[in-house]
């Protein structure tokens, strides 16, 4: 847990520095990288024989019953990955709002669903873009938790 706390502090510090350059949403996207950084810290500081990977599979050779991660660690990983994905979707939503606003101001002509989207108010575009993340991100994280 000590290394996990250290990984969170490092990632938050980097996010704080990136915030000034790329903005809050994109900076907080890196929260998900805690999963790999924590394993890497375990490897370097505890001298454990592990190969850090995104799925955080158990280290060494374990039986089927042991093919899982500790509850606390999994909760921390899932929370941080979800927050990273939310911020990524918020960034994408902000870009979508800016693009549709610019398109409607420039009176650009689109066809099909893009024309519908371009005429919507900013709030609708933002809500549409983030709703997808609210359903898709936990679904993907749920699959990951279910598998290990």
């Amino acid at each position: 847990m000590k290394n996990l706390a250290l990984a969170v502090v490092i990632v938050l510090t980097v996010a704080g520095l990136l915030n000034k350059v790329v903005g809050k949403e994109l900076a907080l996207t890196i929260l998900g990288s805690v999963v790999v950084l924590h394993q890497w810290l375990d490897k370097m500081l505890e001298k454990r024989e592990i190969a850090p990977n995104l799925t955080a599979l158990p280290t060494g050779l374990v039986r089927f019953e042991g093919f899982t991660l500790p509850w606390g660690r999994m909760t921390a990983y899932a929370t941080l990955v979800l927050m990273g994905l939310f911020n990524l979707s918020a960034y994408a939503a902000t870009v979508a709002v800016r693009l549709t606003t610019a398109a409607s101001q420039a009176h650009l002509v689109f066809g099909g669903w893009i024309s519908q989207l371009a005429t919507q108010p900013a709030g609708t575009v933002f809500a549409m873009s983030t709703t997808l993340a609210i359903f898709l991100s936990p679904y993907l994280v749920g699959i990951w938790i279910g598998e290990v």
Binding site: F64, A78, L82, P121, G123, Y139, V141, G142
Partner: protein, 101 residues
């Protein structure tokens, strides 16, 4: 999954609530900034996340065995891997033939 979903949603909504300026907040969410809205966002968003997360969790549980098998096979040399695959195929074939009789 439930804890992570609720915690992530609570932090995310609180950050939006406290960091976004009132005018921008109103434009994005279509309502005035209020504590009721924050609680509503956390409750409804958390519920949606828990439901989709649980669905993902059950999908993941279904593929857990194959994931574990892949994890084991990745630690074996190629020829051992091939032998195990052949054995599994022969066993499946034997059972299929038994069932068809």
């Amino acid at each position: 999954m439930t804890t992570a979903s609720l915690f992530a949603k609570a932090v995310d909504s609180s950050m939006s609530f406290f960091l976004i300026e009132p005018q921008t907040f109103e434009a994005l969410f279509g309502r005035l900034k209020s504590l009721d809205l924050l609680i509503e966002q956390i409750a409804l968003g958390g519920l949606a996340m828990i439901l989709s997360g649980m669905l993902g969790f059950f999908m993941g549980r279904r593929t857990r065995l194959s994931k574990y098998l892949a994890y084991l096979l990745n630690r074996l040399p190629t020829n051992s891997r091939d032998v195990l695959i052949d054995m599994a195929y022969e066993e499946a074939q034997r059972i299929r033939l038994q069932e068809s009789r």
